[in-house]
Amino acid sequence: MKLVSRLKENWKFLMGWGLLLGSLSLVVMSFFALPIPRALWWLTGSLAAVGFAHYTFSQNLVVYVIKRILEAVFVIFVIASMTFLLLRVIPGGPFDTEKALPPEVIANIAAKYNLDAPLHRQYSDYMLGLLRGDLGESYKFLGRNVAQIVGEALPVSLQLGVYSLILAFMIGIPAGLFAASRHNSFADNATMILAISGVALPSFLIAPILIIVFAFWLNWFEVALWLGPEYYILPVVVLGTSPAAIIARLTRSSVLEVIRSDYIRTAKAKGLSHQVVLYKHVLKNSLIPVLTFSGPLVAGVLSGSFVVEQIFAIPGLGRHMVQSVTNRDYPLILGTTLVFSVMLVLANLVVDILYAYFDPRIKLS
């Protein structure tokens, strides 16, 4: 009985830790290419869902969340339409070949892929397909549908992206704090120059240098492919460099701002210990702007992944995104674009909600 009541008192706390541990173990296990039990997915997923639902209801955010989701659906719809139209504008068609095909054959191809229908018809058919969750068949890869292609590539891109973001936060935040703590010192300047350097080189120049040093000279990691931890590290570092640098700069500037703010002065004047002031106030408050930035950061990591995937031969979504345009594989271009957009929109939604959670001054409505 006592246990139950104690559980009841602390369930939120337990759930939070459960979620944290769950997702952490998911990341670690996937990193080491260990088999992940299905139960762990379910557990973490349901904890997240319950936590989200509880938060939404307790904060009276139901309407807000529904509104945001509807908005998101609208945004996705517009993006799908825009991309659809853009694709018809770009010169060159999916079935242009070096050797001209007989008209009968061309007609057959057009009929097979619904390309002979009037444009508005093609559009409405595609949109209706989307509603049913049907992304269509790839033009280039015969017999594979877009959902399947995306389904095989997305987990890889997600893995790459998530590790890079984690790395970026792990390096960026401490570096930013460090610089801020020694504001205007040599260490501060050095850290910040280092941070700017992180965004100052295109990643396709960083990657070969790292490959030569860590794969050829030191022989620590593998040069390419995506088969296990020793393969993951170099691409993750390359992709994580620029977000890490950005986070470091943002953390520094926001810590400086918080330190200068009145309420920290008040807290100090009240005689609170440094530790309390720092951990409780400065850190928490200064991380809020950094947090809001994670939405765009996800976007950045996603679009940057193409370069890294290309150089390290990683079978991710970025590669499909570029190559599908080269092939004029309309359904695949649309499919990858939409998946990316959905992820962006979702990331922004989650970030907004987390934002309100961490900063009670913000009112979502």
Partner: protein, 537 residues
Amino acid sequence: MPQFRWVDRLHIKFSLPLLILLPLLSSCTRERRLEYGLSLADTLRINIITEPPTLDWNRSTDTTSSLIQDNIMEGLIQYDLQDPDFKLLPALATEWSSNSDFTKWTFTLREGVKWNDGVEFKAQQVVDGWERLLNPKTASEYAYFLYSIKNARAYNEGSIKDFSEVGVRVDAEGRLVVELDQPKSYFPMLLTHSSTFPIRKDVIEKHGDRWTDPENIVTLGAYDLKIWDHDRAIVLERNENYYGDKAKIKNILAYMVNETSTALNLFDSGRLDSLHQLPSRELGHLKRRKEYRETGIMATYYFGFNTERPPMDDVRVRRAIVHGVDRKQVTDMLQGGQIPISNWIPPGMLGYEADVGLNFDVAEANRLLDEAGFKDRSTFPTLTLSFNTMEDHRRVAENIQAQLRRNLGISVELLNEEWKVYLRSLSTNPSHIYRLGWLADYPDPDNFMGIMTSFSDQNYTRWKNSRFDELIQQAVAEGDPAKRRVLYREAQRILTEEGAAVLPLYAQVNHLLVADRVQNYPVNRLARFIFRDVELK
């Protein structure tokens, strides 16, 4: 702000374990075991560059797909790839013969061959394959391969609906009889190409577009398709019931790494046994390595002229431009051992004539330009030279641009277009000068000469010459190589000298790296990779 020193500790807390962890992690997980449970000792690891768009041999058009198909399937006839003339050897057909004017061919098929699901191979499966290849619904790009068969073209273009009118049938003795409506002395050669391989209609009907998935596909070649891990790798396994000599290596692991420099990195770190494509700029270095192999291939690299767009409509201008280009300079720049050619057919093929075509002659070039009315070079319009986006093409184009400016004093503007855009502009309105290449589908000169006929679908020069067309048609019907050679010599003279519709640059070369442990690696002029005879040390 000294009171914030605590972050230092925080920083160390974060970064130290990370720094220690990384090398540890890499050293403890490093093992030399291959993916998919394969063992290194009996696996050949190659790079096929891209995901094959399809393994359906009636429909694929690219080299990656045909590489896999060549190893899992077999045609009626095969080349002796060791032979410089590519003598034809029996494969699924044991004998073949034709009537005197090459319009009727009879093929005797091998008996007792079994597909890997146990079903016996029959002549009807060849007919099924050809019907499917020609069927307009299949929309195969390679349907034209069989156009010489009676009514095949009409069937493919939809004017005949009934396949029984097409000139192919199985006779009472189970032989395959083919009737052509134009004589073709080299017809058997076409049957080495994967698009003409037999198919299993029942399998295709059962599984639809997914019949090429490893669990559905039925083949009869030296290897079986075991795993197709999309965008990552393909695994082939030896077919133990293969009718001929069994493959020497048990498995082939084909990665799909499309960045050449990445593939080279993988090779250098011992992850690949061979490379079929090398970063062209590094050839100078790579040449000195013992793993390096090089073979001329039956492929040309050329620039075509849009002969309808002024000033290229003037043959003197076209000739001047051909005379004004030093091909040797281009191949020297490329450092890959490419052979400069002035005629149309590449070396190693019947009809290659080193002395046909216009050679580098600046004085003559300038004389021709003066004669064409451009004594004052400033009145000469700026030409556009277009090519599709690729580093090597760009280098060649930049070099040609510089040469024409230096040698003739004319200015050329480069237009770099993405492949699909490029194809569109080629078929609608080609630039003054455009780049293209051609790789032989089969080692017969007709495959090259046919491109430039007035009825070709790939002749973007818009150059037409009835004498040329006539010679080509005569040559196809001619069985005597010596006589054919004379005909092709004359045709090439018309194309490259009289008409100067193209600027042939060089015959291409394949550059490979093959690891020490690999023996008998297929290196041939046809760029066909059949791994049956490869061995590992």
